[in-house]
Assembly symmetry: C3
Homo-oligomer: 421 residues x 3
């Protein structure tokens, strides 16, 4: 995953433009991706798809002709969606167009101006402090033209048309944890799911520009969103912070419970947050007219780490081991959702005799595999047709995976069966 | 308010009699008050209105003819509802008729004997300890005659016949926090509500003798109590203690939630108590046959401060600033009840584009007025026709007043509307 | 109770056999007991009643002919349900058949092998460590023959056919806390209930072998279990540990609430555990097809004290005072269940006038019997036909017994009546 991030890092992405197309092209080398283009001016609910933005070059030159700010060094230097400009300005005017971070003077901020016509640069505060009176040449060779917004979709068919939605944003330029980590995780999750022989649900992986992208997707897929039974927004999954699960708007859906269960039974530190209407695309999935069961499983939340939306969110900040741990957690949550089945015991009245089936320790009182034994009794006791496996895990406090194995053993021994609808 | 309390302080009030009439007369100079007289002997549910009690004079004289206990010095000296007496008694017998507070030897207690025919005085323990053998003249020039029970009612009409009930007791003699503070607060609350151009609810302010007064009122207004949608009993609102909210019997009514919300967002220390069937007139409003949504918002609860029902509950104990703070809290609770409206967003599917309406910060990532922004997103997210503004405040943890302002702004911008019934 | 335990202690009980019959015989001298025999081979749900086991003698002799392990010294020395054996073995083979407790080297463990054909002894680890190479004679003069499983039942008729089930196991040999304490408690509880003039419920006391006994009983009484409205499994009630209440599977039944209420208002330390499908016969009563409202009220739970299933669970470990305390707690819980009645006030609208009935302190403000007064107000306030007495106790935080007395007083005074169905 880290290697994929390295490949995608230099690309100048935005909510539209060739940067997104190039990114989706690389993802498409790993998993099958259907690309959709939504034309400039298209109405998507209360919004309109903006003109497409592309940049060739951008710089600030001092009086000696040296590029003191250079788009080629880092695409963060240009305010995302800047209008073209080519002018000579004095220091005073230059400063009005350059964003810095006085509290983090060495870092370059990430700034956008999607819906207001402006031009601007971003630079380190130290650099700007060092500049004297001079005549500066500012050039942003960008274009804002009718075109389209681009997103990619990977659909992995399962035995049901009920869907699990997995969504990440692809609109940030050279930022690793914020956007690239989610892209990498979803790409590799897609690869893993493709290999599975049996999937109960179908999986839809969205690679979309934030906000306008999810709004466009929802607008074009309004009739099919009822198929989405569970969903997660993947973002900020590559840093070393503890896991954070932000609940869906409904707050107690199966995906919420599955994610929380997996976190409780992981060895990692974690935090669960109630839903709030800010953040990533869960804002749109959880808008009141959709209210989809979509949570957000991340590590350090947006805005809560110092590197957020700065040049420090770079290839050193995200690490292969953190990405791997995040991927495993996602796979775990998916295992719970896939395996959360209602079983019915064939012996509802009194316990079945486990001993005669070799499922019970032979010598009473001689304890050994206590957990396995207790898990068996829990599954049998709760297999009344009203408890799915996650209900059992929650009530017993035992790990879903252990209960799942036990349920399998009990089925093989003719003591349990999957509930018919 | 403190000045009103000073004016009312010397009056000898009881559950009936001229003291109540004089008190209501003074209140009536501030707000329009309808006076009701309920004749002695009237049946009010399980009770009967007692004979009317009035006192001209009362004293204990020692052998030298000096008034050692004198009603004119403080009306607390006479047990409220004492029968008339005029006799000579020795020290032994005198002591059997004088109540003191051995643990607070300098204070005079407040005692009543409404429904048992007795006579008695109240005095400081120190005074009584200092008395020697002597022949004492005891005189209570009181009358217990057929008459009536008096209460006052101020009705402030709003746009709906649904009512908010505000109730205080007017039956205690020279006690400031217990009774006069509530009277003053309700009088000034009435003045403030009268000035309002728009009131959603009608307001009914009751100035009544405790227990028998509210029972008489409920008895005579049984058919209209269904109009009462919210209510508060005002008492002990002038001392310096922290606020205490005692919930209604139902425990989770709108007035309960509004009061608790306002306390949570005040800067004051406070305590919330579950309902218990003791205290003030909420006992009657919350009797099982009525079970009205009436709570009790006070400062130090009855019986929990040392000055309670003693001569120390005087003009020094209650202070203008505390009364003012209490009044503001009441007005706040009323604002929540008045403004607790269900709104519906005009963009249920996905967020509306706030930027194009000038409602969103222009430069993404450049944080500023975070709270206002977040409040706007909360209101939009929860404006699904199922959440009133107080639901939104509770779920978001944000102040009702901020959300109310935001809802107004969103309505002005055509993004929100009040839900039609 | 301790004397009964002493009498029962030496008997070699198992899940079948004469030990159980002898035990039931002694219980039957105290309370009327109906004995049921269920023949070997009878199908009881998923189980089959096993062959009957009896032992005449058992020992291990060393080369010198000395009995180094002797059934007559303690019946724990034989693995319960051992097959007969008569052989000469060397030390190596002997050790394979002798169970010890290396961590408690002086104690003899209790072991069973009901459903696997084996033979074995139990001895102290110290004894076994001291043995040298020798030829040992092992003899278990036991029989495993077709016969029957035996259980006893004491039915105490109340005014309703609704039943309270009280169950204990009678299948452990010389173990005092585990089995004998429950037997003694239920026997004396039965004696106490027999003496009662009025019982609202009928009581069924079961003295049964664990697991197979309750399964057999449930199998034969399947049609009548709907009569069981409350139940408790009695076990481990004679040690000095704090009380432990294990909830029924449903978790909030009346017996759960009654037991927890009594513990809260006892002066004893206690612990409440959620239901788990391990332990004693509540496992069967709470199997999903029955799901009976049966909890387990004990002191130290099985497996959580060092003496559990060892020779240290002896006559010194259980004490008369602990048994007595447990019995009183059981009687208390039964009092709550018996007295948990719905009352209706005859004055639903406003409080009745307690004073005129002599139920209210005469001098207002002069506090005294506060609790009694407050209890009266609670009962009146909640006597709306929707609250039984235990609901009132839970909401008010007051002791059920006090509220029960108060309800009686109010009924006598014509203020309250039992709700008609």
């Amino acid at each position: 995953m880290h290697r994929l991030i390295e490949e995608l890092y230099p690309i100048c992405r935005s909510i539209t433009g060739d940067g997104v197309r190039d990114t989706l092209g690389i993802i498409g080398q790993n998993i099958p991706l259907e690309i959709t283009e939504v034309a400039t001016g298209s109405k998507v609910f209360d919004w309109e798809v903006p003109r497409e933005w592309n940049v060739n070059d951008a710089y600030v030159k001092n009086g000696s002709g040296e590029r003191i700010i250079d788009f080629n060094a880092s695409n963060l230097h240009v305010v995302n969606y800047s209008q073209p400009v080519n002018a000579k300005v004095d220091l005073e005017e230059l400063k009005q167009h350059v964003h810095t971070l006085p509290d983090q003077p060495e870092l370059v901020p990430y700034r956008t101006s999607y819906y207001q016509e402006q031009w601007g640069f971003c630079a380190s505060h130290t650099l700007m402090q060092g500049l004297g009176e001079d005549t500066y040449e500012v050039c942003i060779d960008s274009s804002l033209k009718d075109g389209s917004l681009t997103y990619g979709e990977c659909y992995i068919e399962g035995s049901s048309t009920d869907e699990v939605l997995l969504s990440c944003h692809v609109c940030h330029p050279s930022l690793c944890n914020d956007n690239l980590s989610g892209i990498a995780l979803l790409t590799f999750l897609g690869k893993a799911l493709k290999k599975r022989r049996h999937l109960r649900y179908s999986y839809r992986l969205l690679f979309i520009p934030a906000t306008i992208g999810s709004i466009a997707w929802l607008s074009k897929n309004e009739k099919n969103v009822h198929r989405i039974k569970h969903g997660l927004v993947a973002t900020c999954v590559g840093d070393g912070g503890r896991f954070t699960y932000k609940k869906s708007r409904r707050g107690n859906t199966e995906v919420d419970r599955a994610a929380i269960h997996c976190l409780q039974h992981s060895n990692s530190d974690y935090l669960v947050k109630e839903f709030f209407p800010y953040g990533y695309d869960e804002r749109q999935y959880c808008s009141p007219g959709f209210d989809l069961p979509v949570g957000c499983l991340m590590r350090s939340p947006h805005g809560e780490y110092a590197e957020y939306h700065t040049s420090a969110d770079n290839l050193d900040f995200v690490r292969a081991e953190y990405l791997q741990e995040s991927l495993e957690l996602y796979l775990n949550v998916i295992s719970v959702i896939e395996g959360n089945i209602v079983y019915v015991s064939k012996n509802l009245k009194c316990e079945p005799q486990l001993g005669k089936r070799g499922l019970y320790k032979a010598i009473g009182g001689d304890d050994g595999q206590g957990d396995r034994q207790l898990a068996m009794l829990w599954v049998l006791n709760l297999a009344d047709g009203k408890h799915a496996l996650l209900d059992m895990a929650e009530r017993s406090g035992m790990d879903f995976r252990l209960l799942g194995k036990i349920a399998g053993t009990l089925c093989e021994n003719g003591l349990l069966e999957v509930q018919k609808d």
